[in-house]
């Protein structure tokens, strides 16, 4: 039977519904909330896994909300790349939620804990919807749910720096949302439709007018802020480093990527004419910004003394990677960008969770304090090392595969300079990652910095970290599982 046809919508609504029901449970039995929150995300993951193989590799699954036909009703459109990203979102949110319980008990004061889980589920559900929706106004609504819950989650500890970082985030995020809303208004005013596929058809019919150019630029700027593309990244380092670690992992590992993906969909499935001056002209500008991001993020990461700050700047650099893959406009570049979303999501989430382990156990945030950490927290340190290798792009890890395709794509597109920038970015990554590893493994700790007895984080915090770091290894070794279908999907998009 065709029950699986309803799975995409259930994947989105189950976490959102969970977010609605959780406060009631929190009122009755607060202790159960962390466990109950796992249920909706687990269900979504399961449904996503059941959907594998159901989607035609060169097409998409279309779900009509309430049975209304697409141009009139809201459509959920799930192609192979979309499902891939939804599974990445499900997996990482699930693991970070497993991680959250101990961390939140320590960092967040009593009354706010239920709120944390509610916002967490809202954010996960919104991310899933954001990836899957085929309606551009729905895209905006999901983006706002995502943005609002992430503003609140950054500030959830309520201390000085957290509130300040969150406010900075709002000051940049809210105007960018309004720009997106305005751009959608422009699109609607000239085409009279909100469905993405329908929009693409009508734009191809009418050709490019000034209104469309303005709306495209507004969309690029709006999503550029959300995805923290280089000159618009100001909010990112503070927000990502000061948020509680599981949230940092989600913001850095997923949110920016999902927003970059939205821009991909807008570029490739709405403004489809890839040869037009509009898209290409903007792509050139975005390419320059992305190249600057790779170098700037890398250099700033080297200069940081704070571990989480360093990882956050590394994200700025990696967003540059993703955008450079997209602006190459070749199948390899696009594949590299998609694979980098997966690999960066896993590795960055792992790094932030490891940093969370150090903060949880010792309260150490500075890189210098990690001297000799290996002797006391070997599990965390090895997971950190593995994820670092992926960030640098050393062969057996997924980072190598994605960087390989990114560079290949740029070379094939004739963009040698960008390929060089990508390589330089890897060297910068090696500098900032290896410095931390050097401190961890080869330096003696300060007297009394680490207690004598041997201890590491509790299993519920180590398991997600190891799952993530082993996943980077797995997707590096078995990249042939995904690469061919991603290449096919990329050629289909182009």
């Amino acid at each position: 039977m065709g029950a699986w046809r309803h799975f995409p919508i259930f994947m989105i609504t189950v976490p959102l519904l969970g977010a609605v029901l959780l406060p009631f449970l929190g009122y009755v039995r607060e202790r159960w909330v962390p466990y109950a929150a796992l249920l909706p995300l687990g269900t979504s993951t399961l449904l996503g896994i059941l959907l594998i193989g159901r989607i035609p590799s060169d097409g998409y699954l279309s779900y009509h909300m309430g049975g209304w036909e697409p141009p009139f009703g809201i459509e959920i459109r799930l192609d192979y790349v979309g499902l891939f990203l939804m599974l990445v979102v499900c997996g990482i949110t699930f693991l970070a939620l497993v991680y959250s319980r101990h961390y939140i008990e320590k960092e967040v004061s009593g009354g706010r804990r239920t709120a944390y889980y509610v916002l967490y589920l809202l954010m996960s559900g919104a991310m899933l919807g954001f990836v899957a929706t085929g309606d551009i106004f729905n895209l905006f609504v999901f983006m706002e749910i995502l943005a609002l819950s992430s503003y609140a989650l950054v500030a959830i500890t309520g201390n000085r720096n957290a509130v300040r970082a969150a406010f900075k985030y709002i000051l940049m995020g809210a105007p960018s949302s309004i720009m997106v809303l305005l751009a959608i208004g422009f699109l609607y005013s000239v085409t009279g439709t909100l469905n993405m596929a329908d929009l693409a058809g009508r734009i191809a019919e009418s050709g490019y007018t000034e209104v469309l150019i303005v709306s495209y630029i507004l969309l690029v700027v709006g999503f550029g802020v959300k995805a923290a593309l280089f000159p618009l990244h100001m909010w990112l380092p503070d927000a990502h480093s000061i948020a509680p670690s599981p949230i940092s992992a989600l913001l850095s590992g997923l949110l920016v990527e999902v927003c970059a993906f939205a821009l991909v969909r807008i570029t490739f499935s709405i403004f489809t004419l890839r040869a037009s001056d509009l898209v290409m002209g903007t792509a050139d500008a975005v390419g320059v910004a992305a190249a600057a991001a790779v170098l700037y993020g890398g250099i700033m990461a080297i200069l940081q003394k704070d571990l989480k700050m360093m990882i956050a700047y590394s994200t700025v650099s990696h967003i540059g990677y993703i955008f450079l893959g997209l602006t190459a406009f070749t199948a390899e570049g696009l594949t590299g960008a998609m694979y980098h979303m997966l690999d960066h999501g896993l590795a960055k989430a792992c790094l932030f969770l490891c940093a969370g382990n150090f903060i949880y156990l010792k309260g150490y945030r500075r890189i210098e304090d990690l001297k000799g950490a290996w002797s006391q927290m070997p599990w965390t340190c090895f997971a950190f090392a593995l994820a670092s290798l992926s960030v640098i792009g050393i062969p057996p890890t997924a980072g190598f595969i994605s960087k390989w395709y990114l560079i290949l794509g740029n070379v094939e597109g004739g963009k040698w300079l960008y390929a060089a920038v990508l390589l330089a970015g890897s060297i910068l990554a090696a500098v900032y990652c290896l410095r931390v590893l050097y401190y961890m493994f080869f330096q003696a700790g300060k007297e009394g910095a680490w207690e004598e007895y041997w201890h590491d984080a509790p299993p519920a915090m180590l398991a997600p970290v190891w799952a993530l770091s082993l996943a980077t290894l797995f997707f590096g070794v078995f990249s042939s599982l995904l690469i061919p279908s991603l290449l096919k999907a990329a050629t289909y998009l182009l």
Partner: protein, 127 residues
């Protein structure tokens, strides 16, 4: 003549730019938020004017009403969602302003950002 005909669009864009200017230039957080709301309102205004029809009627097809005189309901429905979103953003931002004021004793953005920068890396654990 086209501008004269589409004066409402021009008004919306002027409001939008004024709002953005306020958000960027003003140092007081409350004024920034007011600018944000002006931006939002300009977008609402733009949407509503899309669906507006002089002497239009409600889009209900009973009794042989003339479809060409019906107001387009979609922008209104959309912007209702937009207003809800805007209200939530404003409410969240204002609640954070209260927290900020309690902890820093100032609403001046420059002072807020300057005051903390050197020790931002240090603290964060605890407090």
């Amino acid at each position: 003549m086209r501008l004269l005909h589409n004066y409402h669009y021009a008004a919306a864009m002027i409001l939008f730019c004024l709002g953005l200017y306020t958000v960027i230039v003003r140092r007081n957080i409350i004024k920034k938020l007011i600018g944000l709301n002006i931006m939002e309102t300009s977008v609402f205004f733009f949407y509503i004017s899309l669906g507006y029809l002089d002497g239009g009627i409600a889009p209900i097809r009973t009794g042989g009403a003339d479809p060409s005189r019906m107001v387009n309901p979609i922008p209104q429905a959309l912007i209702l969602t937009g207003i809800v979103v805007a209200v939530s953003v404003t409410a969240l931002a204002l609640s954070m302003v209260i927290l900020l004021y309690r902890q820093y004793g100032t609403l001046d953005v420059d002072r807020l950002m300057r005051e903390e920068e050197p020790e931002a890396a240090e603290s964060g654990k605890g407090d």
